[in-house]
Symmetry: C2
Subunit: 273 residues, 2 copies
Amino acid sequence: MELIIYEMLYIIGLGLGDERDITLKGLDAVKKCEKVYIEAYTSLLSFGLSTDGLSTLEKLYGKPIILADREMVEEKVDNILLEARGSDVAFLVVGDPFGATTHTDLVVRAKTMMVDVKVVHNASVMNAIGICGLQLYRYGETVSIPFFTETWRPDSFYEKIERNRNLGLHTLCLLDIRVKEPTLESLCRGRKQYEPPRFMTINTAIDQLLEVEQKHGKSAYDEDTNCVGFARLGSEDQMIVAGTMRQLCTVILGNLTLPCHSRQDSSGGRRKC
Amino acid sequence: MELIIYEMLYIIGLGLGDERDITLKGLDAVKKCEKVYIEAYTSLLSFGLSTDGLSTLEKLYGKPIILADREMVEEKVDNILLEARGSDVAFLVVGDPFGATTHTDLVVRAKTMMVDVKVVHNASVMNAIGICGLQLYRYGETVSIPFFTETWRPDSFYEKIERNRNLGLHTLCLLDIRVKEPTLESLCRGRKQYEPPRFMTINTAIDQLLEVEQKHGKSAYDEDTNCVGFARLGSEDQMIVAGTMRQLCTVILGNLTLPCHSRQDSSGGRRKC
């Protein structure tokens, strides 16, 4: 009879700032793991996922890190789980593993393959936004603002924001990031080619929000609605700015052209913080 | 002219589990601080705020920790801030500093007194509940379930749960804890005497929820409504149980009599996770 030693898959939140936002518990786990993957699909580290950024982490952890891009997470996750059946494996995630983007699929799949999972929590955008002073328990449903294209301008967020505001609740608006998206051309030809990474600025988000307001005309919000804009939340150089939609466009725009911003969220609420 | 050196107040989230859930950044800050306070008013550490629990922390930090109870946080916070004008001071908070209970007042007060503040984020109940599989962005407004007394049975949470459920959203129900509450007698006599600490069990919460449903009769939920119960979320011995309200009462009750539970939350949703 074959003896299978079931080891552990550690899913570890890295928090929001830099390499020192990992918890002691998370670092303990990484140090005992034979293989360490870092998830680079749903968000980018503000300290960069360039070779430089990774080597900072590798130096801290004392071992190499494998970049798990969208393709690997979606298509080859079973390989990672198979490895976790024979040795301890760490899967690092920016923020909390179950924050804005959950890794529930990974956990369910692990259970199916009888791989034990341990989660090390950390801060995520979903709770760190509390820093602006608006109470977390006064938020309604969270919405995502996707990049509009010429032919695809989905606006289901509008109704949700309207509803939240009618109830006196804030809305967390998560702004789109596009990382390692296959180009339309490559999809047609079946060859892998990727668009350059893009992060939605608060400026773009507000433009889109106002366009949708104009289309629906239900006065869910307007240029004078107070919002709070977040950029690089949790990093040393984070920016949190409160003002009307009109003001936010002017104030933040310039700074968001910095090369390393990773998260931009606009938390609209009735009250200014 | 008097020279005032403005030092820093660090507000540091400890996360949800034990002493090793602090981040490296948080520990760096604690180590450079001259004074270290720990906030013991809004929640208790699952690793205990007994002398034993504190000494575990003190050993890790290499310095003494001052317990900031409700009285100190509410009445003597200016003294802490004055100290932070002349030296680095750490204020430790279970979870994230701006999680379920925010420390916004402290930050505003610090700004007024021209004390610089740095926040070190960590996991809080508000994002760690994502571990049960229900998506965080599908939650509506959060509610609190307070301990009912003979004369005080507030039920404003009912309408909010009803609304969330009508919208197909989950509801995070935060269950009451009572720590260092002055007794009624002591309030009358002006002498400080405190009630023993109490934590609401999921059982009690469900009893109260069903009582309120019976009173209002609007079928917001019933005994067959699926819920997820959390106890000691983020700790080594955390419990997460899904089932109907009726089932949750039976399953979890026994375990919640353990001495060190610190957090119990019941996350009601339309779907079972």
